[in-house]
Subunit: 200 residues, 3 copies
């Protein structure tokens, strides 16, 4: 259930950015789907299985709902910003937990699972930004993927302390949500590397 | 045979766009190959098999022929635009049918097969546009991927009506060609989402 | 050992370009990792195995060393340009040999192995350039991927002449290094396709 809300929220973020670039309906839908399922697709390919959405249409249907939602509400979406930000954060948390659990179940070590959790949560947004031809947002602004990493470390701590999966998942998800809300509230950012000028 | 014509036509579209960006011969060839085999590569990875071109060099050879063709004809290619547009459309149709049939053969449901057919036909062009650092053309202009989707629905209808694979493939391919020709002739486009301004 | 030096050098090239674009620490690290392991990841996915770095943390640790190195030396990295250029070239050679050997071991024909060697060496830099939203450097400037192809042809020649793998690998790697050094010293470039103007 939280899974579907997260999928819709992720898809909406893709569709809004695509519409700001004047993509057509098909393009906006593809960018929405990619934002929603891109991270999990990359995880599944790396784990050696076919992408999860290929056997269950619900994720593409959620993205379709997101498209209709954006078409209906259009400019009024801005008023819903706080709501969708919350749903997007819930999605980030759920996807992180899913990614961790599937990777552990596939027999990989825990540090790999944390990376896969982060990829599941954050890679969809990177693909979105590549498609709309922008530098990926999560590489420049916002604590986003770091929230997944920290949540993953808490999952690991729970597992080491011997809690069951459900508890570990809840703690991990709550930490992801908390980290992201705190980061936005206090405008936390990672330091920016003092760069030389462009090398090329 | 139609397969090879389609591969050459796809590669030529990639090489032309790469040359407009002043890529060198190697870069142009890579963009050409990616346009030609990128969609099928993505399909094969998602189906869990190694990309089709890794065991049969003919697709890379077709891309090489495309490179030589562009080098020889250079600016005169514009006069051949209608011919290459037709071959490109034939390629789109053939790739869509191939994608559908391989996905069904791998045991996935039909809606997944239609998506895989569309990816086989259209994803190569998306990779091409990412490489040349443009917003993907099919997300903004032209009925292109939608022709694959509609062709796929006709394939499904044929399958439900009990026709053999060859008939279904021909009907599907003919619909893809017809849709694209009609779309270009009547300048059909999908509506553009009324966007808010950029969100970032 | 050469493997690790190459990984660090590749990661540094990614991190420097990311810092020139004002990416934050996380973004710079991800771009560094992608540059270092992106080529091998693509190879492994195409060969049908999970990416090599998922079971051995050393590659991510090398990327972390690269990040610390860039943070410490900052602007003084320019003075180390020749050193890192050499290490980068050694990495290119090592990655090419690894890619060829794994592909042959997986039972693919030799021409596929040469392509996979080239992808292992050069694709990471393409992903880097997609992430920082630039046209891939290797498509426009420098003999880089062609050095991998030529090294691969020498590997094949050695194999046909009946040498053992170690000799073939050394010859291949030496050729990659030689080709790249020569290309830079004499400013060799591939010809640029005389393009029409943009087609879109």
């Amino acid at each position: 259930m939280l899974d579907f809300i997260g999928t819709i929220a992720f898809a909406i973020s893709g569709i809004r950015l695509a519409s700001a670039k004047h993509f057509d309906l098909f393009g906006a839908y593809v960018v929405g789907v990619t934002t929603a399922v891109g991270g999990g697709t990359m995880r599944d390919l790396m784990l050696g299985t076919s992408p999860f959405w290929m056997t269950d249409p619900v994720y593409l249907i959620c993205s379709g709902i997101a498209l209709v939602w954006v078409m209906i509400f259009g400019k009024y979406l801005i008023r819903q910003n706080n709501t969708w930000f919350l749903f997007d954060t819930i999605g980030l948390a759920v996807f992180t937990v899913t990614g961790i659990e599937r990777t552990v179940a596939a027999g990989f070590p825990f540090w790999t699972a944390i990376i896969m959790g982060t990829i599941t949560g954050a890679a969809g947004g990177v693909f979105r930004d590549v498609f709309i031809n922008e530098e990926p947002l999560i590489f420049r602004k916002e604590i986003y993927a770091m929230a997944c990493v920290i949540g993953g470390l808490f999952y690991y701590a729970c597992a080491r302390l011997g809690t069951d999966n459900i508890t570990a998942g809840i703690v991990c998800g709550a930490m992801v949500v908390a980290m992201r809300l705190l980061a936005v509230k206090y405008k936390l950012r990672l330091p920016i590397l003092k760069g030389e000028e462009a090398q090329q």
